[in-house]
Symmetry: C2
Subunit: 597 residues, 2 copies
């Protein structure tokens, strides 16, 4: 009953008009990034998402997973819903896992910015499915950046093709946000390997039968390691041992001890993993496991943000289609379709408000996500060190903003879809309530959105006397300056400039007061993070409007007119949220810290 169409037109707009990615043709991996070459690739990805992954989404939710430990002669299994195995095989056979992987391990070497549309569409189509390849890519990155050449050549090629998957094993029952409390142990073995023992929870895709092997990256403590976060090391622990010739050997000493029953993502196995002297190898240096985590964290957090965006997109599409079809009551200004028993609900201003809020989010968030992916690419690949540094500054600053706003917004958008559907929104068959349930955890995992805010306010703002901040504020100030006397742009530039001013006020308040009282920074951090995102979206919408203003006479007039009207809606109806946030921030933390709770 629900529907999904890959939003190819918006991807093309953002990649080729908004970001103009082919200007980077000289950068490694960008040679083939032009519209003509990329569009067929996007279309093929879109078709797979629409035709293969999306039809499995509702059935996956309904059927869920089966944990099977009935056969004592073998480790417990997790049985996926029908169709997932075949879909994963097709995904692998089509070469999608290798898209952005390094050519030296068999990858296609393409930049992240071109991969983001695929990621988003997979999340729209089937988030439960998407987690396995998504997390696997993170594990690939960690190994590629930190493991020895021997480990890399043994494990990466099969991970690049997708025949093996990878998982990140961080959380323990007593150690979630606070990974310094991790207890899993690693003991050195005579052969240079380590024996890993402990329990990890909430391990997404920790066990499944989609791939021949699963490569666990496990955080654990070496004997005598320093207490806390500085005593944690990272280990590569394969589910099935790999022989020197690359063939598979015995099952390692690890099992999936159970799977969680969750609010959503019911077709994604969330596993409790037990390591009982499992054989593993150190990745990177002893006690520097968190450093390895941090280097891949920006990409991982962007990916979680894109999960929120993907759900937001499919929720919006369904709400829009329903609002055009559902006949109920008449327009406030008189019947719009008098021949029908009632008008379609899209005539009602409040329904339009909800739909436009959804679209202002999805198209604004997509622009932000793609820009951040591009900056990640430039930070790694650009030949000019100054561009690399500036791009990295942008990524450091915007990572918590993107992760939090895209997941909060995805949840809000899914909820608005339920509201547009009315009573039908609460019924499983119609599909939209699943989006609310599936997306909810994205506001929590990979660092809760409150933790993102502490990262933004506590680490990113003060870094090098505000250096990261300048990577965003400087170009934004220049953009405002450039357009300040352009009458066509005035309706976008004026609110942008005013709200940028508010954001600067909040920044200064936090810097001044947070120094004296860290609770003042912590207490306003979530609100500041939202303010920041609103201004970042306003900046993006102003730039999207700038392009659209030059195109309203072209063949695709309606596409650009829609861009302009969504930009206007954002400026008038969404952006004013900043003023309340500013007031709340400067009220300080006293009412929270001194409260009797």
């Amino acid at each position: 009953m629900p529907q999904f169409k890959a939003p190819i037109r918006d991807f093309k707009f953002l990649l080729h008009e908004y970001l103009n990615v082919s200007q980077y043709a000289h950068v490694d991996g960008f040679a083939d990034s032009g519209d003509e070459l990329m569009t067929p690739v996007l279309e093929a990805a879109g078709q797979m998402c629409e035709e293969v992954l999306f039809p499995l989404n509702q059935v996956g939710d309904k059927v869920g997973l089966k944990y099977d430990n009935t056969d004592a002669s073998r480790p417990p299994r997790v049985i996926m819903p029908d169709g997932f195995k075949e879909a994963y095989k097709l995904y692998v056979d089509s070469g999608w896992p290798s898209f952005t992987c390094a050519t030296e391990y068999g990858g296609q070497g393409l930049p992240d910015v071109l991969n983001m549309p695929l990621m988003e569409m997979v999340c729209s189509a089937n988030l439960s499915f998407g987690l396995t390849p998504g997390l696997s890519h993170g594990a690939y990155n960690a190994i590629k950046l930190h493991a020895s050449d021997a480990l890399k050549s043994k494990y990466l090629p099969k991970m690049v093709t997708g025949h093996w998957s990878g998982v990140m094993c961080l959380t323990e029952p007593q150690a979630g946000t606070d990974l310094g409390l991790i207890r899993t142990k690693a003991e050195s073995m005579p052969d240079g390997s380590y024996a890993i023992s402990g329990t990890k929870i909430f391990i997404s895709s920790g066990e499944h039968e989609l791939t021949e092997n699963i490569i666990h990256l496990v955080l654990a403590r070496l004997p005598g390691a320093p207490a806390g976060i500085k005593g944690i090391s990272l280990f590569l622990v394969p589910k099935i041992m790999v022989n020197d010739d690359g063939s598979l050997g015995e099952h390692n000493k690890l099992i999936c001890a159970g799977i969680e029953h969750k609010m959503g993502l019911t077709a994604s196995p969330t596993c409790m993993m037990q390591y009982d002297g499992a054989k593993g190898w150190l990745v990177g240096e002893p006690h520097k496991g968190m450093r390895a985590m941090f280097t891949m964290m920006n990409a991982a957090r962007l990916y979680v943000g894109v999960q929120g965006l993907g759900i937001g997109e499919v929720a919006y599409q369904n709400a829009l289609a329903y609002a055009k079809e559902r006949l109920q009551s008449r327009a406030l200004t008189g019947a719009k379709e008098p021949s029908k028993p009632a008008d379609p609900i899209i005539v009602h201003p409040d329904v339009r408000r909800m739909l436009l809020a959804m679209r202002a989010f999805t198209e604004g968030a997509r622009a932000l996500a793609l820009e951040m992916a591009l900056k990640i690419d430039l930070a790694h690949r650009h030949p000019d060190p100054a561009v690399r540094e500036e791009s990295d500054d942008f990524v450091q600053l915007l990572t918590p903003v993107v992760k939090s706003y895209l997941t909060d917004g995805g949840f809000e958008t899914a909820n608005l879809a339920v509201q547009v559907f009315g009573g039908y929104g609460f019924i499983k068959e119609y599909g939209v309530e699943q989006y609310v349930r599936d997306v909810r955890v994205t506001m929590i995992y990979e660092g809760t959105n409150g933790i993102q805010a502490l990262d933004l306010v506590g680490r990113k703002l003060p870094h090098a006397a505000g250096k990261y901040l300048r990577a965003f504020f400087h170009p934004l100030g220049q953009f405002i300056e450039k357009h300040k006397d352009n009458p066509q742009m005035a309706e976008f530039i004026k609110p942008l400039a005013k709200n940028f001013e508010y954001l600067q006020q909040a920044t200064m308040w936090l810097a001044a007061n947070g120094m004296k009282n860290p609770d003042d920074a912590g207490g306003g951090a979530v609100e500041y993070q939202k303010m920041f995102a609103l201004v970042a979206l306003a900046y993006s919408w102003a730039r999207q409007a700038e392009i659209a203003l030059g195109k309203t006479a072209c063949d695709e007039k309606e596409f650009y007119e829609a861009k302009l009207s969504t930009a206007r809606f954002f400026m008038q109806k969404i952006l004013p949220q900043t003023t309340s946030l500013l007031q709340s921030i400067v009220a300080g933390s006293k009412s929270m810290m001194q409260a009797v709770i």
Copy 2:
């Protein structure tokens, strides 16, 4: 794993200190409303909710309902989760259904304001369970107010005891918000009854085995009835025919054709009902069915609001308990419990922000709900017609505000509980995600919150040149005037006065612009409704603070200190939301109505 404690202390505070209900001892039903008599009743209700209903909540969600149509010799059945039947029997045996029913039909005749705490606690403990008696009470009211004496004496006594339940049957597939589109037909029979034929959907508790009989109140059209909303009549249609001696006869020609699979409330049967010439009797006059609905709508909408509040309360309690227990990271200002491996997360300002937002909602919403219940009582029972009229004005005005804010707030609060729980919040076992799923539909049923906003802006504001509005604005203005020079109250009165000013600005803008362009009223209605609720809560918090200021030296110092600190938090961190809402309202509807969607 989750927990629930009946919030008796706050009920006592609100009933006896805040509303001082015993001042109405001369009003019918209020004679026994004093603290000494009511507290044991509240405690008994609380105990039943804690010990009987609450333990069934998670199991009800997990097991759900079974629709059984396997036995062709009898109509399909809906089988409730184990324990529900026994709990309902206990509920009936304890006399709770009759609490506020008229003494002439066997009720106890107590006022609604004393029943609200019971309603709220039942919703906190087990919302799926609560819907059956809750809706039944609405059906009782409709029959009592509109049916003939013959119907009343035949049906009401068993409904009052709870041995029979009642259900409201309004929605059809093509007629949800727009009941004018109803197609169910009623044909006059020679014996004075009517034959009802048609299909109704989303009928909560339409079929179950908790009671011996189910009395359906069905909206249908008589032959030749005017088109639309003015041609709808109300019929009483029993599931089992009732003989003249009160004994039960044959099954009527109605069946439950199926039940919905829903996001939440999975232990509450949401039925598709088919009437195939079912025997029914007219309630009230022909074509005046909607009028009968409207007279009970205020109480019904308050009750839905209380569902949101009840879920908010239990969600808050669990988040608070978890935040005190869960050890993770250190306070920003240095370790608070150095002997433990980490501090409890309640030390973190953002966690405190979430908890206080939850409590500011639940305790503010409870005050509003109880005040509205009292006004409903006074509107019906007070001997002075001026008091009746003024009370009714208040109820008319506040009904959409209470229904929408308490359900939006309940959902938001449940979501915050999930966020406080982190990853555990997403896991079914911990119980808080169920609150999000269960409460979601309250923002939709009994008139979506968008429809509430249209009622507020389109009907309630303009009524009799703003007469309803004065029932709220006038005492609020007096309160501000009274305290404006009181230095102790300044921190509450100043923000209240400022935001009341904003609300008046928004009201004037809507009145002026909505007249010229109804879309301007419709486009800002939801935001206005939220502004209204925020100011209503600020008014309540200022009054709660006023009482607490006089009590900080008493034995229960901590209770009153907590009231003061929550009031401060509300004024500083929540109330500022009004400024953004005002800006968005006065931006008008052009950006929505002219947008290309």
